[in-house]
Symmetry: C2
Subunit: 402 residues, 2 copies
């Protein structure tokens, strides 16, 4: 299974990654907290919605036939025999021909009634109500089960729930709902040159930008990030942190090891503790990526440059998270845009180029690979497929928005 | 100040709402948790980034002049006088003409060197290194402060932070960052017909869908929702819950009161405890919306139908939240689309129509106003301005995505 030092296509790497994806696990969450979560099971209406014929306006419940031909000049005269109260249906009230009943919005249509006339088209005169407009049968009435029938499927599994969905789930009787459990993802930063954000870098040192970036991205993506801090480039240190992180997490991401020696040590440590499945992917930036497995858990070795780590995160790691979350549609905002200039690319590797969007015009931000400022200045990434020798000015591209 | 029963334009309502917006409040959060939060202050680089000239490849640090004219046939022969280690700059190492030093990616460029040759273009022969390609001055080197200069503004206030921003903030020395505090928004459901999701509705009863929907939306939007449950349509009950909620929250939202009597009681209670500023907005759905203020806190009365409540939430309440969060750009995903059919509308009111997107074609889902299923089936909303008599088939629209 070991694939040392042979660069493989992105699609092959993703296939390998999906092959080692842990099974999705389900948990129950209250519907108020279920927005953005992935529904694990289908949901059906547990009863008819609404459960009764309901007025959608303030007005008078009538028998439609009684209002035929009614108008301003010759109103229909109906006797008001009751007033409907919200939530308290009057079982004894039944409209006979020539009668009506006041009904508020949302009120239960009384027996005998088949329509509601809006209050604006009526006039009260003692116990008599003048109806100045004919009502069609069913007018201003939401029928029992018109929204959802008892037993009808309302949501399918794999749906990313919206706030509106939370409301509809409540209407279907769900106080809590089964969703994919958030994967716990361990984040380990490696490198003798790294110091935390709160330390002023000494000579030759740089601050660790990857751990906060990865943690923030993973939290946004519906995972629970677990940051293990900075580890020196030493085999013993790697082994110790992996021994701790692997049992505590569903997935572990190492980032760092920009030089070949460091990457080899990362791969060697993973191989010694489990297996290395991928070492090198035809992707730019991000070629020296490592995919392995320890005790059945996926372990990634991401490049040290934040921009490279980010590209590998969305191209290689995200498919694994989507599988673990049973996502049908990846959560990725994109925008169609037109390229302002040619982007050259090397055939045979998938390339991700940072672009700045101005309206729907995308302009690539070229720059040295280690720069952070293009991450801040750019709007997102454009993917150039491995089979292309670049993209031409004026062509339509999909920008993967930050 | 009181504006009872006079329907006012959306823009006027928003102006009134912004006029009562509480002042933004700031809090510190760790950068790992800062994604999606709104930056409250500008951030500058506390030091040069990087803090030293840095190699971006594995290779040999050289004096570029020494490699002039080098090629496969006639390589430049340089004496290797050292190896750079990560994070441990060797202050004594200085390249004199004719020498080079091994340098890993990210390593500190030694004194005297001005370029790096990738290891792929070199060959070791004992202490001599054969360089087979000329290096330009500065090649493969990230210069000190090339990314950010000390004191340079990296982020402006009002930015909604991304995961990449979290990484760059860490690089700038921010372990924590000042962001707008999440507004606490109270949610009160009103209506004698309402029961919670976990109760099977009896005759005339319906489940409360609004509270979970509003809570989920507000949480997604960066607020802290506080649900106060269902309150009966009685003045004493309203007063009691408002007396509790107003001091505990920054904003209070009542929803329910679909009938005129109930709305009048909501408005009357708010007026008695504070002031009603708006009662009726030229918006469809959502006309019977109430905006008031109690003890300096904004209080909204939203319609009972979930679809109507949602429209008022995004059109009227959201501008208030944006002001409280000091948001420069509202967080709203939209998509350009083409209308598949005409949508008629009444001039003089702003209308929001639910649409289904198929690629970039938007088709309106017409239906009775109380339906929940169109919330689930639709992709988003199309806004028809108050000045228009509808939108024509084939016209470009912006769909406000759920």
């Amino acid at each position: 299974m070991s694939r040392f030092f042979s660069v493989i296509p992105v699609a092959d790497a993703v296939t390998i990654v999906l092959g080692i994806a842990p099974q999705p696990v389900t948990e129950m969450v209250p519907v108020e907290s279920a927005s953005c979560r992935i529904l694990a099971t289908g949901v059906m209406a547990d009863s008819d919605i609404p459960g009764f014929d309901r007025s959608v306006v303030d007005g008078y419940a009538v028998r439609a036939a009684d209002t035929a031909g009614a108008g301003d000049a010759i109103p229909a005269l109906l006797t008001c025999t009751g007033r409907i109260s919200m939530g308290q249906p009057d079982g004894t009230l039944s409209l006979i021909p020539g009668t009506c009943a006041y009904i508020p919005t949302g009120g239960v249509l009384p027996a005998g009634a088949d329509a509601v006339v809006m209050v604006e088209y009526t006039e009260e005169a003692g116990e008599t109500v003048l109806v100045k407009k004919p009502a069609a049968c069913g007018e201003n009435v939401l029928l029992r089960d018109e929204d959802f029938k008892k037993g009808e499927t309302v949501f399918s599994p794999g749906r990313r729930l919206s706030p509106q969905d939370a409301g509809v789930l409540a209407a279907c009787g769900c106080g809590a709902v089964a969703v994919a459990r958030k994967p716990v993802v361990g984040i380990i930063s490696t490198g003798n040159e790294l110091v935390p954000a709160t330390v002023v870098p000494g000579p030759g040192q740089v601050r660790d930008a990857n751990a906060p970036m990865l943690a923030a991205y993973l939290a946004d993506y519906g995972c629970i990030p677990k940051v293990y801090g900075i580890v020196r480039d030493e085999k013993e240190a790697f082994e110790a942190v992996l021994k701790k992180a692997v049992p505590e997490c569903d997935v572990v991401i190492l980032s760092g090891g920009s030089s070949k020696d460091d990457r080899d040590m990362t791969a060697g440590t993973i191989a010694a503790m489990g297996a290395v499945l991928v070492h090198g992917i035809a992707i730019a930036p991000g070629k020296p990526t490592i995919v392995g497995r320890i005790e059945g858990k996926p372990v990634f070795g991401l490049p040290g440059h934040p921009a490279s780590a980010f590209v590998v995160l969305i191209a290689i790691v995200r498919p694994l998270l989507d599988r673990m979350l049973s996502v049908r549609m990846p959560l990725q905002r994109t925008k169609q845009a037109t390229l302002s200039v040619n982007i050259p690319s090397q055939r045979g590797r998938e390339e991700y180029v940072r672009v700045l969007l101005d309206g729907s015009v995308a302009t690539p931000l070229f720059g040295k690979s280690g720069l952070l400022n293009t991450l801040v200045r750019s709007s997102g990434l454009v993917r150039i497929p491995a089979g292309a020798e670049g993209l031409e000015q004026g062509c339509e591209v999909e920008v993967i928005l930050w």
